[in-house]
């Protein structure tokens, strides 16, 4: 696929004796938000970690902007333009909100216009600017984690379950923020368990089960096909609204 920012081609991942990913193949189109869905333990987080080089793929290829990154080390993958927000958020609790963001701005200084844009997405961060990030609530930490990922322009954002454990009001805030990121043309691969959030945000969807891709297509198609939802995810959209 020529307009794909990221392509996974037959990726296998082993963690110790366990074979987690079994030939995962899909593409993330440029400028779109691709949802990665699947039940717990299906291999979604492993897919993101394998892309980031945190776990090495044992077979297959990962291409980012046409260049193979399969065997590259995590810092090199990050520097090539991929930002990653893990499920744990990876916030440095002992550092202030400002220090978390300064660290993510590898060029040194934070671009003021970009910071203003980020603070317009997540105004709470401005208020807590000089406080240790460990003091923030779960939702505010997630805002900081995403802000850190976009503090400099990146070609691809990998975000793992950003709404997990958040109150409904925070989930709505997060959905609005992702809509704004989509409007800004960001390319995003988003792991999500909340099907309502996924259905609202996703342009395309990849469903993984037992470490294999079992469905790829447009999100709109999955949203309207309840039988497909039941077959793939064992749920219906109604139950999650």
């Amino acid at each position: 696929m020529t307009d794909a920012t990221l392509v996974l081609d037959g990726v296998h991942t082993h963690i110790g004796p366990y074979h987690i990913l079994h030939g995962v193949s899909f593409a993330v189109p440029k400028g779109e938000l691709t949802m990665l869905l699947g039940r717990n333990g299906a291999g979604k987080s492993t897919t993101l970690r394998t892309i980031m080089g945190l776990w090495q793929a044992s077979a297959g290829k990962i291409l980012f902007e046409g260049r193979e990154i399969t065997r590259q080390e995590t810092p090199d993958i990050s520097r090539s333009g991929i930002a990653y927000v893990p499920e744990s958020m990876g916030i440095f609790a002992g550092l202030t909100v400002q220090e978390n963001l300064v660290l993510a701005a590898r060029s040194g200084a934070i671009d003021k216009n970009r910071l203003d844009w980020i603070l317009s997405l997540f105004p709470a961060l401005k208020r807590f600017w000089s406080l240790p990030a460990g003091n923030l609530s779960g939702g505010q930490k997630q805002m900081l984690a995403i802000s850190r990922a976009i503090i400099e322009p990146r070609s691809l954002l990998l975000i793992d379950e950003p709404t997990k454990g958040l109150a409904p009001v925070m989930i709505r805030s997060m959905i609005e923020a992702f809509k704004a990121l989509k409007e800004a043309g960001e390319t995003i691969l988003l792991v999500e368990q909340n099907f309502h959030a996924a259905s609202v945000l996703g342009d395309s969807v990849v469903v993984i089960d037992d470490g294999k891709v079992v469905h790829r297509g447009a999100m709109a198609e999955l949203v309207t096909d309840r039988t497909l939802q039941q077959n793939l995810l064992g749920l219906s959209l109604d139950a999650h609204q």
């Binding site: 744990s88 440095f92 208020r127 925070m170």
Partner: protein
């Protein structure tokens, strides 16, 4: 935007409560122990001695706590850098022995400065080799780290024997640092005051580096979550090598200070203080420089006070301090959040 409405409705977070209690331990111990002494001069002398000893332990322990905090590496060979730092003074003291006896403050202090410089360079370079040859192959395995670094320690101690001989070597303090300042009945050794000055200076520099520089920011972040630091595009291994080298050089500096304090060099002198070093970094909180500083002063002061007031308890006083602190704060005085 919904988020704005929601966030504006949130109350401001309270300012972070500063964790002052551990910081108050040292001054509280000093003040509260005063009535236990029969006379003021003993209390002053022991307090200054305890502070000086604490500063020297801090110098020796600070590198190790950072190495453990950053890369989860238990380096049982850390003690050899203390010994090597001490022996490296001989490189300077050999040709410049006359400076120690000279009736010049500048020559005396210059000699000590040169000893410190040479010791830190020597232990820094050997630290880089130690990390590359001994530590790097055993990342991620504590058991292997213990076995291999103890092996490295034994080899390095034998190399000291081979180069400088197995007999203890005595060294003399530079003229300016001999003797004591006398205030009434209290005598305060000049070298102890010097050691307190060096310890405070190093702590101030470390504090500024860790809190005011980008490299310090990276180290603090790396102690919390090395994987995330890598995900942000930084090479944690390179950072670790830098910290390991700096930690080894600091141990070398501690070795110089310890050597002039004891005025006798033995290959095992570093290993002898490692028990204290371990106690201090556990008391302070693994990976915490502030904790290491407070822990060092606490342990040294208690050792001095107990040694005077209840000599029979002197041997167990350090363990007792550690046990009490861990009962109060199981993660140490200033726990570092690790993810």
């Amino acid at each position: 935007m919904t988020s704005q409405t929601t966030d504006n409705a949130l109350p401001d977070l309270p300012r972070t409560p500063r964790d002052l209690v551990p910081l108050l331990l040292v001054p509280a111990l000093i003040v509260l122990s005063a009535p236990l002494f029969g006379n003021l001069s003993s209390w002053v002398t022991l307090t200054v001695a305890g502070l000086a000893m604490g500063m020297m332990i801090f110098l020796m322990a600070s590198g190790m706590t950072l190495v453990f905090g950053l890369m989860d590496v238990i380096n049982f060979g850390h003690g050899v850098f203390i010994s090597l730092g001490a022996y490296a003074t001989l490189i300077v003291l050999g040709p410049l022995a006359g400076w120690a006896k000279a009736d010049s403050v500048w020559l005396n202090l210059g000699l000590l400065g040169l000893c410190i410089l040479v010791a830190m360079l020597t232990t820094g370079v050997i630290g880089a080799l130690f990390e590359r040859i001994i530590v790097r192959p055993v990342y991620g395995s504590h058991l292997k780290q213990i076995l291999v670094t103890v092996g490295g320690l034994i080899v390095a101690e034998q190399m000291i024997h081979a180069i400088w001989g197995a007999s203890p070597i005595t060294i003399a303090l530079p003229e300016t640092l001999r003797g004591a300042f006398v205030f009434g009945d209290a005598a305060i050794e000049r070298y102890r005051v010097f050691a307190i000055g060096v310890g405070l200076s190093v702590f101030a520099v470390m504090y500024l580096v860790l809190n005011r520089t980008r490299i310090g920011l990276l180290i603090r972040a790396g102690v919390e979550n090395p994987e995330m630091v890598e995900s942000l595009g930084y090479r944690i291994r390179r950072l670790f090598v830098g910290v390991f080298v700096a930690g080894s050089a600091l141990a070398g500096l501690g070795g110089v200070m310890w050597a002039f304090y004891r005025q006798t060099l033995t290959a095992g002198m570093g290993m002898e203080v490692m028990v204290l070093v371990f106690i201090v970094i556990i008391v302070g909180g693994l990976g915490s420089i502030g904790g290491c500083f407070v822990g060092s002063l606490l342990v040294a002061l208690v050792a001095n006070y107990v040694g005077f007031l209840a000599p029979k308890l002197a041997l167990v006083s350090n363990i007792l301090v550690m046990a009490l602190v861990l009962v109060w704060r199981p993660q140490g005085l200033f726990p570092v959040t690790r993810q």
